[in-house]
Symmetry: C2
Subunit: 150 residues, 2 copies
Amino acid sequence: MRKLTVKPTTAVDASFLETLLGYNTRRAALTIISVFLNRMAQCELRPVEFSVLSLILHNPGITSRELCSHLNMLPPNLVGMITGLEKRALVDRMPHPSDGRALGLHLTPEGIELTQKAELTATALEQEASDRLTAAERKTLMRLLQKIYR
Amino acid sequence: MRKLTVKPTTAVDASFLETLLGYNTRRAALTIISVFLNRMAQCELRPVEFSVLSLILHNPGITSRELCSHLNMLPPNLVGMITGLEKRALVDRMPHPSDGRALGLHLTPEGIELTQKAELTATALEQEASDRLTAAERKTLMRLLQKIYR
DNA sequence: TATTGTTATACTCTATAACTATA
DNA sequence: TATAGTTATAGAGTATAACAATA
């Protein structure tokens, strides 16, 4: 049996930081990402890999360039990830039908299966991470967040 | 004159990702951080450095350990940052009054001045980053985010 | 024995410059 | 000339193990 660690309740005054949207948003994001990492370990997917796979699933033939601009990533940082997903036989790079420079990205059958499983896992873990919010609050939160980044 | 780049409106379907709280929170956080980095360059402060200085300002004598547990950082990653802030003559490490192992952190007069200026800058840039939200929406957003990480 | 601060270190994430093939 | 994908590389962020001094 592991003894419970009694945390000394350090009464730190963070009242100013907590008036900042950036601080609150970042702290909440880190909390959710932490739950994500734990639960998504079974699929061996990190947050951005999951986003990439999900976008390919719903947009077969999407190019790296489109992924990058939609996920706010830089092309050099996507190359290795796609290569890794291809080595795991989840993704195929195929010639683009109309642009000889580009490559269309597609999921393999195994990729489709894993991504669909991962999407269910993601939906479930989100519920866990936001279990102190009502359904209405959750909906409001999403709408307000989208007003910031969209 | 620079020609405007006409962005090809890539109609990417991200409807599934946008149902996820983690995705929306992370995207919003990255958007605000980007504004932060631009505006806070004048103070030469990065987000975590700003948080550290603000916490020391409002909690003089706080220890590294307390900073770490409140900001969810690991002690080895704070050492270099504090050393850097000390070299810039913004922070002093002083003996802790009751615990010989610990060091109390304090701001120098220059540190106080810079941090106060930075707090004003932070409050202003937040307004800019969330200018599509009403005051009431902003308040609601903060309350809901805190329900996730607190 | 446990904790604070620290060093060393490794791994991931992010950013920039430059190359190639094609448009 | 501009763009898609790529390589190499540098810098920032984050993680663990281990040590000295103190509790």
